[in-house]
């Protein structure tokens, strides 16, 4: 049987392996100073990935701001509706209405920015994929045309 390692949670464990053998690395109990250093350097790397935690955080922040903005506006309306005096309604209008509106605009901007970027990324990849597939089809057709032309222009052996 292949060795398995509880200390090495291996995402490749599910990888296809023949004869019931996975691809997991074996147990490592010895101290590996260089490997530890390697691991720490790798973990400190700043790798730019399209969908990192920051992106999702901003998306959630946008939704939260939208909701908070709505609550603030409702609070402003609630406060203003409790009095008939315009001078008493003004603070509610300013702090509730404008602040709430500002929060909602900021939240909507964040939400659109980060949800659209994800959508556009998929769209871009899809577009590239389609273009390449199209280019492959064109090249394939041209190759077959080329083969046909070659066959047609090939000099026939004498006696035919």
């Amino acid at each position: 049987m292949m060795e398995t390692n509880a200390a090495v949670p291996n995402p490749v464990a599910a990888a296809p392996a023949v004869d019931g053998q996975g691809a997991a690395a074996p147990a490592t109990t010895a101290s590996h100073e260089r490997i530890d250093q390697f691991r720490s350097e790798i973990s400190r790397l700043e790798v730019k990935v399209p969908e990192d935690k920051g992106e999702r955080t901003w998306l959630i922040a946008g939704v939260v701001l939208l909701v908070v903005g709505g609550i603030v506006i409702f609070g402003g309306y609630w406060g203003a509706s409790g009095t008939a005096k315009v001078n008493e309604q003004l603070p509610y209008l300013l702090s509730g209405g404008l602040l709430g509106l500002g929060l909602m605009v900021a939240g909507a901007a964040l939400f659109v920015r980060y949800s659209m970027s994800r959508f556009l990324r998929f769209w871009l990849i899809r577009d590239i994929y389609e273009q390449r597939a199209q280019a492959d089809r064109i090249v394939e057709s041209m190759s077959s045309v080329e083969d046909l032309l070659r066959a047609a222009t090939r000099p026939r052996p004498k006696g035919d």
Binding site: M2, E3, N5, A7, V8, P9, N10, P11, V12, A15, P16, A17, V18, D19, Q21, G22, A23, A24, A25, P26, A27, T28, A30, S31, H32, E33, R34, I35, Q37, F38, R39, E41, I42, S43, L45, V47, V49, P50, E51, D52, R121, F122, I125, I128, Y129, R132, A133, D136
Partner: protein, 248 residues
């Protein structure tokens, strides 16, 4: 055409205790010809993993993908749990991923010492580089002023390994270490490989002629047609090697 994938959209791996090197579903192509069709393997800390297979199976391409020289068109290449697809080879080398290519890659017109001096780019002094190399391979000290192109195949391989080891690698990728060498020299070099592994360095050995390497490896995999077909203990694979090579 291979499937396109979007970097970073899959789940991040657990970093602590993750394999030093891990390939999952890795595909790679030269132009329009795909040569790796979903390679899966994992190498732990201080492990010697032998990747075996006949000519054209995709072993060297797998190593080149690991070293960042050939981009993976699909799948994930992870180092210590972090997906680093498309990472530049020089950055990987600086991190400690070291490839010794097939054909050794020594500078034939430079002397042994000058070849070693090429590795001082990482800020190590010439004397340190030489001391490290000669400590492991005393024979190179005797050949210090000899032009590398005139060394024997085994000595060139020693020089190549010595040069790589002076960079303090964490992961050593060895492509066809035994190619064109006498069995005694190969045995000597495998002894060095064992010693390196005992120091905690992870090693991936790619070999076409397999029997000898199985004595050194902790685990081995058989690669055929761009996929790792079998992974297991060397003793298990030894029985299946002939069948694998002959397509049985």
């Amino acid at each position: 055409m291979s499937d396109y994938f979007i970097e970073g959209l899959d789940e991040p791996a657990e970093l602590s205790g993750a394999p030093v090197l891990e390939l999952s579903g890795v595909c790679a192509a030269y132009g329009r010809i795909e040569v790796l069709h979903g390679v899966d393997l994992a190498v732990g800390a201080g492990e010697v993993f032998a990747l075996l297979g006949p000519n054209g199976a995709g072993k060297s391409t797998t190593l080149n993908v690991c070293a960042g020289l050939v981009p993976a068109t699909a799948g994930a290449v992870r180092f210590a749990g972090r997906r680093l697809n498309g990472f530049a080879p020089d950055k990987l080398a600086r991190l400690g991923v070291c490839l010794i290519p097939e054909g050794r890659g020594v500078f034939p017109n430079l002397t042994v010492a000058e070849n070693l001096h090429m590795m001082t780019y990482a800020g190590v002094s010439r004397s340190d580089v030489e001391a490290k190399a000669y400590e492991r391979f005393p024979r190179l000290r005797e050949r210090r002023t000899q032009v590398a192109g005139t060394l024997s195949g085994g000595e060139q391989q020693m020089l190549s390994m010595a040069r790589s080891l002076t960079t303090d690698p964490a992961l050593l990728l060895l492509d066809e270490l035994s190619m064109g060498l006498a069995p005694l020299i190969v045995e000597e070099l495998y002894g060095v490989v064992k010693q390196i592994a005992s120091e905690g360095i992870s090693i991936v050995l790619v070999e076409q002629f397999a029997r000898a390497v199985l004595g050194v490896a902790d685990r081995a995999g058989i690669m055929l047609h761009g996929r790792v077909q079998k992974i297991g203990a060397p003793s298990e694979l030894e029985e299946q090697l002939s069948a694998a090579y002959l397509g049985g």
